[in-house]
């Protein structure tokens, strides 16, 4: 069974401002949860784990990390035509890629931390004509043509068996970094990442990127009111005194 996971490269400075490890891009934490889950099946013969990301060549590093975490092969969807896509255009490209790669099941994270729309997985499922199982907490088992999943529901959770083809959307995220050995990273670096353009996935450029988007951002404003409050550097013990005195003075 071919399981294709789409991961989104996020600028590291947006995610981990204080712990930049030199890489320009990091894996979207919602997608990282999918990779962590799937890596438990890395030695499963019945499954081929494929990872794909849409982005520039600089974002190749996120695919290397996914390979080091146990994914078998990686694709980079890289084309200027893909840039500036909204969810309608993104789901178009991802669907074309899923068809080109030939996935039996498409796994995705619930959101991307930069866009936070949560719309793309459903759009991909609609375009592929697959059932979409959302709120997934864990992949439990792989059957012949089925997946057993733990799914969150309002009053608890349920264990379900779903047939392929399907789109599986995980809920929640992890900011825990994937663990892999130096040897695993070395092997990942030796693997070839296949680059796919719009032509390679038979995508019509009219439906990709900015051209294919059905929304446009008019402007971006700092509508949240900024304050020019006091800014001070204090030892934690001094900070405690300051906060407690403020609470006392405010009589709350």
């Amino acid at each position: 069974m071919k399981i294709l996971t789409f991961i989104k490269p996020i600028k590291t400075e947006l995610l981990y401002a204080n712990e930049c490890d030199g890489e320009k891009f990091s894996v979207n934490p919602y997608d990282a949860k999918v990779i962590v889950n799937l890596s438990a099946f890395k030695n499963c013969q019945a499954m081929e784990l494929i990872v794909a990301a849409m982005g520039s060549s600089a974002s190749e590093c996120v695919l290397r990390k996914a390979l080091a975490s146990g994914m078998d092969s990686a694709y980079l969807l890289c084309d200027n035509a893909f840039a500036g896509a909204d969810t309608v255009a993104t789901s178009y490209v991802l669907e074309k890629a899923a068809v080109r790669i030939g996935a039996d099941a498409v796994f995705m994270g619930q959101y991307a931390v930069d866009g936070e729309t949560g719309q793309t997985p459903f759009g991909v499922a609609e375009r592929l004509g697959y059932r979409c199982v959302s709120g997934v907490e864990e992949l439990r088992e792989i059957g012949n043509r089925t997946l057993t999943l733990k799914v969150n529901v309002p009053n608890g959770y349920r264990i379900v068996k779903v047939g392929i083809p399907t789109v599986v959307v995980f809920s929640g995220m992890t900011t825990k970094k994937s663990t892999y050995s130096l040897l695993e990273m070395k092997r990942a670096k030796a693997k070839r990442i296949t680059v796919l353009s719009s032509h390679d996935i038979s995508a019509d450029e009219e439906f990709c990127g900015i051209k294919g988007s059905r929304t446009r951002v008019m402007n971006i404003t700092g509508d949240l009111i900024k304050k020019s409050g006091e800014k001070i550097e204090l030892l934690p013990s001094e900070a405690v005194e300051r906060v407690l005195s403020l609470l006392r003075d405010s009589n709350v």
């Binding site: 401002a17 204080n18 909204d86 969810t87 309608v88 931390v113 930069d114 936070e116 719309q119 997985p121 459903f122 759009g123 609609e126 375009r127 004509g129 697959y130 059932r131 199982v133 089925t146 009053n155 608890g156 959770y157 349920r158 264990i159 068996k161 779903v162 047939g163 392929i164 083809p165 929640g172 995220m173 992890t174 988007s213 059905r214 929304t215 446009r216 951002v217 008019m218 402007n219 971006i220 404003t221 700092g222 509508d223 949240l224 009111i225 900024k226 304050k227 409050g229 800014k231 001070i232 550097e233 204090l234 934690p236 013990s237 900070a239 906060v243 403020l246 609470l247 405010s250 709350v252």
Partner: protein
């Protein structure tokens, strides 16, 4: 004439708070467009008082999809897509909760029209075009988004963003109610539709946490996500009679319950004093605390965005701060 559709989630009552909020906003917009407000639902029963309430909040027409379907969600989406194609409303509003996200996302692909997620405002600009405002990451910004092509614009809206208010109609009136049978919309031929529930496990989820009454709220961010810091935080908050909130990161990592989450996808709070501990200050979080009177932010990163929105910014290690704070009691 620009009609506006409000799409209720399946199995939800017509007078669900979020439906009434969306109807109130839709009525306001429809006034300027000389259009009708249509509420669409798959709730089965349309109770008389719920219909009346929807009318009082702006619904001119209610369309109900009735009957049992093998795949209710797909049937509902199929019905909606056909109805929208025929009637071509200018704007379609959905709740972002439950199935609303899936229904709207699938429809945007089926109808090839723009969809803006989790709006915090919808209004008409000078050229009478719809503008959808939503928050975006970094620099705590609000993005104003317009539909690019086509006549239909769609948006999901979070509960509590709009005020639910009667539109000034006299009691006793009623909207036009149309009932459609689910039959022809029920498709059973989706590939991979095998879906079997093997086990259903109920979990006693933590009850709701009321943060609305707390005059002081301590909020935990990713900078204090370790168990020792959180233990100290709860202990100190209890001594000080303060409430404890958190950012979404801690909820998504399973560290804190969703009932304590503040921000765009959580609660909005308005305490007298709000103390952010190890909170970076993503705009999605800040929209939930914009009504706090006094904001204190403690973060070791001197460039944390939250400092731009704080009345008192303290550059300090929030984890060690908590150790010192709890030692005071």
């Amino acid at each position: 004439m620009g009609n506006i559709y409000v799409v209720s989630n399946p199995a939800k009552r017509l007078d669900e708070p979020v439906n009434l909020e969306l109807l109130s906003k839709a009525f306001e917009l429809a006034q300027s467009k000389n259009g009708m407000v249509v509420l669409i639902s798959m709730c089965g029963d349309a109770f008389e008082e719920a219909v009346a309430d929807a009318y009082l909040h702006g619904a001119d027409k209610i369309m109900l999809l009735s009957g049992q379907a093998a795949d209710p969600l797909t049937a509902y989406i199929c019905f909606l897509s056909q109805q929208i194609r025929v009637d071509v409303p200018e704007c379609v509003l959905f709740s972002d909760e439950g199935a609303g996200k899936e229904i709207s996302s699938r429809l945007s692909v089926i109808l090839d029209c723009g969809l803006t997620a989790d709006c915090i405002d919808v209004y008409l600009d000078d050229s009478d075009e719809y503008v959808f405002a939503r928050t975006a990451l970094s620099d705590s910004v609000v993005a104003k988004i317009k539909g690019k092509t086509g006549k239909i614009k769609m948006a999901t809206v979070k509960r509590g963003v709009f005020f639910s208010k009667p539109c000034g109609r006299e009691k006793g009136g009623s909207p036009q109610v149309m009932v459609c049978e689910v039959g022809k919309f029920d498709q059973n031929e989706i590939p991979g539709r095998f879906y079997e529930i093997i086990e259903e496990i109920s979990v006693q989820k933590p009850g709701d946490v009321d943060l609305s009454q707390s005059r002081v709220i301590f909020c935990a961010g990713r900078g204090v996500n370790d168990s020792e810091s959180l233990e100290s935080l709860f202990a100190a908050a209890e001594k000080l009679g303060a409430g404890v909130a958190c950012t979404r990161c801690l909820v998504d990592e399973g560290i804190m319950p969703r009932s304590r989450q503040v921000g765009q996808s959580g609660k909005s709070i308005s305490p007298q004093i709000y103390v952010a501990l190890g909170v970076s200050g993503a705009s999605q979080h800040l929209v939930g605390v914009k009504n706090a009177d006094f904001v204190i932010a403690i973060n070791s990163d001197k460039n944390a965005p939250i400092f731009a929105f704080a009345d008192l910014s303290i550059i300090s290690d929030a984890r060690i701060f908590l150790k010192w704070l709890v030692a005071k009691f």
